[in-house]
Symmetry: C2
Subunit: 518 residues, 2 copies
Amino acid sequence: MTQFDLPGSPGGARHTARLEAGASAASDTSFDPRTGASNGAIAHTSAAQVEQVVAAAGAVAERFAQTSPAERREMLRAVADAVDASAAELVWLADRETGLGETRLKSEVARLASQLRFYADVCAEGSWLRATLDEAGDASSSLARVQVPLGPVAVFGASNFPFAFGVLGNDTASALAAGCPVVAKAHPAHPMLSVRLGEIATSALASAGAAAGVFDVVVGFEAGKQLVLDPHVRAVGFTGSQNGGLALWRLANERREVIPVFAEMGTVNPVVVTTDAATDPQRVATGFVSSMTLGAGQFCTKPGLLLAPEGAGLADALGAAVSATQIHPMLTAAMAAGVSRGVEAYEAAGGQVIGTGSGASAGWSAAPTVVHVPAELFTRESVFAEECFGPVGLVVEYTDRAHLESLLAQLQGSLVATVASSGPHDPETADLVALLARSVGRVTVDDWPTGVAWTWAQQHGGPWPATSAPASTSVGAAALDRFTRPVAFQNLPDSALPPALRHDNPWGLPRRINGRMN
Amino acid sequence: MTQFDLPGSPGGARHTARLEAGASAASDTSFDPRTGASNGAIAHTSAAQVEQVVAAAGAVAERFAQTSPAERREMLRAVADAVDASAAELVWLADRETGLGETRLKSEVARLASQLRFYADVCAEGSWLRATLDEAGDASSSLARVQVPLGPVAVFGASNFPFAFGVLGNDTASALAAGCPVVAKAHPAHPMLSVRLGEIATSALASAGAAAGVFDVVVGFEAGKQLVLDPHVRAVGFTGSQNGGLALWRLANERREVIPVFAEMGTVNPVVVTTDAATDPQRVATGFVSSMTLGAGQFCTKPGLLLAPEGAGLADALGAAVSATQIHPMLTAAMAAGVSRGVEAYEAAGGQVIGTGSGASAGWSAAPTVVHVPAELFTRESVFAEECFGPVGLVVEYTDRAHLESLLAQLQGSLVATVASSGPHDPETADLVALLARSVGRVTVDDWPTGVAWTWAQQHGGPWPATSAPASTSVGAAALDRFTRPVAFQNLPDSALPPALRHDNPWGLPRRINGRMN
């Protein structure tokens, strides 16, 4: 094992990373996006090490599956406590690798701990086990069904939320809650943070009684591919780009035993402005630009398209609003380049830049930009129907309801759509909500789409290609469902049933018995 | 429109089938499996007609999605009543095309009506909508989530259950219950019955107030492919062979917008005999052979492999039991040929036929057969790890628990596994149930696997390739889940929410509010 050591780390913590003697020299270099300078390198996990890590996850899977929901609640709470205890160090490290700033990262690390506790509580509540019992009748056998964990899950976190959607994020927390061991891949945009979070979680899980192998982190692109193809791995969670997510989905489809890939991917996320709301273009434009530039536009829920009534002055207002914004560093050099390339492609296809942010460009920065697109050019085959990741938005003007519907029909599925209305009595809202709900996973009214609460009712997903599994969510209580499958037991003696289905209900679960909830 | 007319049909009913003037001459020939003689031909639906049918389903989808669960309950009940009213005619027609016999078909047509009423009740109960409300807090917006129908579903029924898994079977009933229009493909092994069932359902749905386009049947292989690729179609339900199901899955994966394929496919379905149960080999052998030959072994839940303690005499007992059985017609010429080919392949690979049924062979018949396989030849790459559809079973002897586990590890996922025990106090049962549950969707003890009840707790699915979507079931209350996806609504005025989420709960649904069930 070697260590990495960053000068200035709070508490002088030393960060260890696996690097066996004689291992491949390949590594992920950690960069400071504010300067583009290297923070150091984290060695890739060798193929032999990945095999070992996954085999350990496979070996422990049955035992971990048999822990009670209450036991797993305590394990997840221990991880949350450990994250809280290391918050200062983690924020420092994350800022060094992401440039997202202390304020945002402090709030995000607190969110990570809160999420872990939320999934812990959902796990213990037990509805997700869907315990269902049909008692034996004169002509029928008893039948009882419960959700069982799938087994080891490979998690690919996102670049843009190093905590909330990172190696300990929603996918990992919900998979552990569901009783599945997790092997997470370190994100190349924050490899040191990924490895450090892994150390913190591994140690907290052990202290809470989890067996070795329940959680681990591997590093490197090849290690990620190996995870998806390893027979021990039974599901994949991914947050990131369509290219990345669909590549993993295709890879998993080539396995002898195909496994589900829950890829939550970037989408356009349209905003529709009603006729009445358009009477105050400045209010709408300010809100849109502020949501579009949050975190330098590096949100999968970034509103990327504003559909406004023609002639209401929204384009002008957006131009003014975006011109008042500042340049901000992007997470990676590739993302900064992607913004320039994206804006150029929009211009080449007939879009017109109507405003850009300003300020000194340092490191990997990008200027917030709004592009006006003539409606007749907005077609499904055009670049305008594709997401540009970063602080970039499009504005298209519609003439009437039918025109609006034809424009929306050019879009692929999105994670979220927004109605900007004139208030609770806007006559257009209900109809627009119904229209937008057909092609997204969440509709929000007068509330910008960027925030994603981790609650019982949340749905963070959407029709293809917003996710590769449109019936799933990667945030909220239902996130556990992804990592389970149902098994029915017919005519079993009570002693042979799993605890969730035994007569005395030892886990105190809500259960459906003969069709009625108990 | 042309008609087909079979002499001897009860009530002298005439059966109509679409055949436009000038349409392609391609058709499905209906055969009598008892003789191999033709009953007549049903013309394939032309590409233009398929397009029209699917467009009609697409056009009505939004309206159908907005019907209340109680309205859809009445529609499904109307179909069930119409099936009951036509039972005699349907049984006559089904027997002519399948040779399954009046007793079995009478019971299956009654089952079809019962299933339709079951899904009607599940629909109206409303738990499947998973209505979940998080009320607004000081720092958070309100969030409410509900399952919405996916839109038109293409259904490919099975050959072996012309009623229960046919054009009005579990897939169609659960999709309609979930609020999705259905376009079913007629099965080439019973095209006349498929078309007739379609007529009965279409007319019953219309009389119950369903809009045109909610249900239709198309005929022909090309029509089926066209369904899967049509952008209006949002999901596929399939019951049949692995070849067929995986071909549809691959086709759907090539779409611009990939859609879920719920293919429930044939599997080996192992039976494990405990040491204590093996002391009465005749009892076990009789039960196994009787389950294996039910419906000429043409069940996806047929037990295809018996794993018995070495030296307990199970092989001899099976040989004797199967020798007492009779030859029976298979559903199609291809299936009959498949049995001969399968047995030959087992023999060529080192298996030994230890007993066959007897009787005069007429039409497309197959003799029940049990093959003994030396344990060392039973590997995942061998033909022994593949299902042979029909009245064919394998017996393999294991030496101890570790050997048994290594044999089970050669198998792909199965729909169901069985433990043949010595009774409720058999000490091996609990451990074997836990072992088998890892790779199947249902475990049954001292109850042969062939029957699949349509109840709240049923799970009819299993790990890949038992189904292409291991978290789904094609039978039971949870079958509706396949055809829905969640949508969350954030910060909406009550008037813009769908009925399932409105404050006054007009559909009277069970709902989770702020984390608690109400």
